[in-house]
């Protein structure tokens, strides 16, 4: 076993740990922090079922963003949908045997890589060309886009230019999962790709990428509009009440 393989094995355990623990901790904080007042942005659904549908529309169709700005919606949705397909395509590296539907989406996943890059470049172009968006962008916003673009480009290059030994790579990833380490092919593009992916997993819990779990906890979107029907009282607010006897 080469040092390189050991290094990457350790890197991926570490990245997974940081990602899972970090995001888990944020979710724990979101869930534990009380929402003392009903603040749904209306018109809002009056039933839990309606709220579930509203959230579903938000996370699958980005419906609020669609109302806001068609360009951001187009590039943003394209990027996210493509990323999802690409991620699902990568499942094949973690399964033996590979599920049929994962086999079935393989060709689409390749187109999705291009779509993902188009989406990212569109979003990046806005940051540079639109003065309002340029004003609100900080270095980390550019860095995040750069990281995602680099991951996409290195992946595409592996597909079309510098191939790697897929069979060995799969043995490596399965080895990681079953704690039975296998050698990793020492191809430059693969190493770049994997390093960037690990970096993304590590920065995730410390960055704006927290919008992914955050959207589910947003009270303006996930609250039922029924304050007159049901009294809504957070624990710290209830303590105020017992304080004055009312």
């Amino acid at each position: 076993m080469s040092y390189l393989s050991v290094f990457y094995a350790v890197l991926f355990y570490l990245a997974t740990l940081v990602f899972v623990a970090g995001v888990g901790y944020r979710i724990f904080l979101y869930a534990r922090t009380p929402a003392p007042l009903k603040i749904p942005t209306t018109p809002a659904p009056t039933t839990r079922r309606g709220v579930a549908l509203r959230m579903l529309r938000e996370v699958t169709l980005f419906s609020s963003l669609f109302k806001a700005n068609k360009w951001i919606w187009l590039f943003g949705w394209l990027f996210h949908a493509a990323l999802l397909l690409v991620l699902l395509r990568h499942l094949r590296y973690f399964q033996e045997p590979v599920w049929t539907w994962v086999v079935w989406i393989q060709p689409f996943g390749i187109y999705a890589a291009w779509a993902m890059l188009i989406g990212l470049f569109g979003l990046w172009a806005r940051r540079i060309l639109v003065d309002r968006v340029r004003y609100i962008s900080s270095p980390s916003d550019h860095l995040m886009l750069g990281l995602l673009v680099a991951i996409g480009v290195s992946g595409v290059l592996m597909k079309y230019v510098w191939h790697t030994d897929i069979v060995a790579l799969k043995a490596f990833t399965l080895g990681l999962m079953y704690f039975d380490w296998q050698p990793l092919p020492a191809d430059a593009m693969l190493l770049i790709h994997l390093t960037l992916v690990a970096a993304l997993m590590i920065v995730f819990p410390f960055s704006k990428l927290l919008h992914a779990p955050g959207v589910f906890f947003s009270p303006t979107r996930n609250q039922v509009d029924n304050p007159r029907e049901r009294r809504h009282l957070a624990p710290w607010a209830a303590r105020l009440q017992s304080g004055d006897g009312s």
């Binding site: 929402a35 003392p36 603040i39 018109p43 943003g76 309002r132 004003y135 270095p139 009312s246």
Partner: protein, 496 residues
């Protein structure tokens, strides 16, 4: 008329190029110690204010899930950048919702996130300094908490929540805003925002009784502190004498009279508006709300109805039960509370009112959805009732009605420019600039449909429009109350 540039109304809305610092000079008067202490805040900037501010920030983030999630979730996508009326009217980029939030977020990141602690430049994190505080004081008093940005944000990030938190932090370190805090103090001391004592209130109401008697020949009562009345009416104190507000109050009285519903105002709770919300203070908001509960108990009423008001209705609809409930001593057949528009609409539906639409034939109307009614509350039992019910009332009382362009009404409505504790003369430049998008939409229907009047159901909207309409070539009497239209159309006396 103004010592600042009044924005030009364009034929089509145009997103202005950003002009940095255009509104940095705009600040409301700072609250003096006399206005701070009754609210439980220090009189002036405390010595170690930076530390106090940062600690308060941590406390608020731990108490409000929305705040925590909103601070983490923004991706700077830009969807909100062209949604704020203050940005559209002033072109100052710090009036873009995301940039306004970042005034707060940058400090939060510096003290409470790993990235901000170790890589402040990279993520745009800043220390809490006097310069930051000055920026906060300027720009968190350029947010009317209208929530238009939250409609369009893919994560529902609500700048109102962040501006409320920022204002509470500023109050906590002793940098309060005079207008809001003085008013809250008046409510605690006298009972209403305008500082109208009970005898003056009684006089005003008697005057109104005489006025209506003269106009209609009918004895319409304006009762105060009458025990055993069915309905407690809580309305903004502007309704007692400001124009056009008072015409709305006359309208409610006529409706309740005609429907045979006994009602009363309360001198203890002679104010519907709850300015505690504007400064983000749960404690003050709660104290203000408890007055209404007390009045309802003291007078032994069965229902609580709110007059025409936007922010008051938000606190009433969304928070009253939370802050001052439970209201299990009231008649369970009615929601607690009800909006006067819900009451009037129900009566119209049941055929209990006769309305002669021709009485309003000299007016061609449009309707301004007030921001807090539109995006922070509801009427009736269906989502969107807050849009349909007032329009249905106007259509029942008038023959000529035309809506403004679709992207400027309903949930996308533009704030009047004076909400959220900004309705003060020291902020007139901001108010005029912030009204621009609404004025543009109004101009559109004035030209397309010869609209003559703008109807609204919020006391702040009515005051704000009376003041700013003339800056744009309109006249101050073009703003009317919805119940003023009802008042003019209602046929009093026995039904045929």
């Amino acid at each position: 008329m103004a010592d600042f540039d009044v924005p030009e109304l364009k034929e089509y809305p145009v997103i202005p190029p950003v002009r940095v610092g255009m509104m940095a000079h705009s600040k409301p008067y700072v609250a003096k110690p006399d206005f701070q202490t009754p609210l439980g805040f220090p009189g002036e900037l405390v010595e170690n204010w930076e530390q106090v501010a940062v600690e308060k920030m941590g406390e608020l983030v731990g108490k409000y899930r929305g705040l925590r999630v909103f601070l983490d979730s923004c991706v700077k996508c830009g969807a909100c950048t062209d949604k704020c009326h203050y940005f559209l009217g002033s072109s100052d980029p710090k009036n873009m919702p995301v940039a306004r939030q970042d005034l707060f977020r940058s400090v939060y990141r510096r003290y409470y996130t790993v990235a901000g602690k170790y890589f402040p430049k990279l993520v745009g994190a800043r220390d809490m300094t006097k310069e930051v505080l000055d920026d906060w004081y300027s720009y968190f008093h350029q947010c009317s908490q209208c929530r238009r940005c939250s409609v369009f944000c893919p994560y529902g990030i609500d700048t109102a929540e962040i501006s409320m938190a920022a204002r509470e932090i500023m109050d906590t370190v002793g940098q309060g805003q005079k207008y809001c805090n003085e008013i809250i103090g008046k409510v605690f001391k006298i009972g209403n925002n305008l500082g109208l004592p009970e005898p003056a209130l009684r006089d005003t109401l008697e005057g109104l009784e005489e006025e209506v008697k003269e106009d209609t020949g009918v004895d319409v009562r304006f009762p105060l502190d009458e025990k055993g009345a069915e309905v407690l009416l809580v309305t903004p104190s502007a309704d007692f004498f400001a124009e056009p507000h008072v015409d709305g109050l006359i309208g409610y009285a006529k409706v309740l009279h005609q429907a045979g519903i006994s009602w009363t105002l309360s001198s203890h709770a002679s104010e519907a508006a709850n300015f505690g919300m504007f400064i983000g203070s749960y404690d003050n908001m709660r104290k203000l709300a408890l007055r209404i509960r007390q009045a309802a108990l003291d007078l032994g009423v069965k229902r609580i109805v709110f007059g025409e008001c936007g922010h008051a209705w938000r606190v009433a609809y969304s928070f009253l039960n939370t802050l001052a409930g439970p209201f299990d001593f009231l008649d369970p057949r009615y929601p607690v509370p009800q909006h006067i528009c819900e009451v009037t609409y129900d009566l119209i539906q049941r055929g209990a009112l006769t309305l002669d639409k021709s009485a309003n034939d000299h007016r061609v109307l449009t309707y301004h959805d007030s921001c807090n009614v539109a995006r922070a509350s509801r009427m009736g039992d269906k989502p969107g009732g807050q849009f349909d019910i007032p329009r249905a009332i106007i259509r029942a009382a008038c023959n000529h009605f035309h809506d403004m362009p679709a992207d400027t009404i309903g949930e996308s409505t533009f704030c009047c420019g004076g909400g959220g504790g900004l309705l003060t003369d020291d902020l007139i430049e901001l108010r005029v600039k912030g009204a621009m998008p609404r004025m543009e939409a109004l101009k559109h229907v004035v030209e397309q449909h010869q609209v003559t009047h703008l109807a609204a159901i919020c006391a702040i909207c009515k005051s704000q429009f009376s003041k700013v309409l003339p800056y744009y070539g309109f006249t101050m009497d073009q703003i009317v109350s919805v119940h003023q239209l009802v008042s003019d159309a209602i046929v009093l006396g026995p039904k045929d």
